[in-house]
């Protein structure tokens, strides 16, 4: 991987990459998978409840016509899937020895990059709420800064939030010891 875009200092390295749990993205993927079968479900429903609609004669090869429009529909779903995947994949926190670089990819054209230096971090709150988050080990993290313009940084549905908090606190302690 190349971290040029993060503009790291010469002695700075990425030690942890924090990304949301795949379950967030899987939900959208399953929805699209269901949508891919929707034309067949609709066709079945029409065949059962409104069979007269199927008597409309269309020119040319009907199967080829259905395949053409169905392929375009699948392409639209495929593109939509990758738009969502891009938002998921680029919404990430990089933890270095000195700071957290929080990249919030809200939408495809809405991207916010923030830096949280460890000496400014006041508290980290983690929240694992519910049966499925506990089972799959994901939750939310809130980082509060102690700067003049006290801010809070959130990342939701991340894997192993307790481990991430441990790493951040450990780096914060290391920085405090080195000072």
């Amino acid at each position: 991987m190349s971290y040029e875009v993060l503009h790291l200092e010469p002695d700075e390295h990425v030690i942890l990459i924090i990304r949301k749990h795949w379950i967030v993205f899987a939900g959208y993927g399953i929805t699209l998978l269901f949508a891919a079968f929707l034309p067949f479900i609709l066709l079945m429903a029409v065949r059962i409840f409104l069979p007269a609609l199927l008597n409309i004669s269309l020119p040319g090869n009907n199967s080829a016509l259905f395949l053409f429009f169905y392929t375009l529909f699948l392409l639209a779903l495929w593109v939509s899937f990758f738009i969502d995947w891009t938002k998921y994949y680029l919404d990430v926190w990089y933890v270095t020895e000195k700071r957290i670089i929080a990249i919030d990819q809200k939408h495809i054209f809405d991207r916010e990059v923030s830096n949280l230096h460890f000496d400014k971090i006041q508290d980290i709150t983690l929240d694992v709420h519910g049966f499925i988050p506990t089972l799959l080990g994901f939750g939310n993290i809130k980082v509060q800064t102690a700067s003049e313009d006290s801010r809070e940084f959130y990342i939701t549905t991340i894997r192993h939030p307790d481990e991430i908090r441990r790493v951040i606190f450990s780096q914060q302690n290391k920085m405090a010891d080195n000072r």
Partner: protein, 82 residues
């Protein structure tokens, strides 16, 4: 008094071959392809600029391109066999 039996007016006959024919399907495919190219360019820009050449991005790019090509070929073949 007997009322005349109710009859619905006959619907005008629509010749669908005017709307659904090979040139029209070709135009639909070309318009779709143009929209696809624009959206793909946006996605590739994001992947190149912010993806940091990670393995996940490379897999995503390859999968996106390969499946898209297959689907466009199938759409083209569907027009051929229409």
């Amino acid at each position: 008094m007997d009322l005349p039996p109710l009859t619905l007016p006959t619907l005008p006959h629509i010749n669908l071959s005017f709307f659904i024919n090979t040139p029209v399907l070709m135009i639909v495919l070309v318009l779709f392809f143009i929209a696809y190219i624009i959206i793909s360019a946006v996605l590739f820009y994001h992947w190149t600029s912010y993806g940091m050449r990670s393995a996940g991005i490379l897999v995503g790019e390859t999968l996106f391109t390969l499946v898209s090509v297959v689907l466009f070929v199938v759409a083209g073949l569907a027009i051929h066999y229409f």
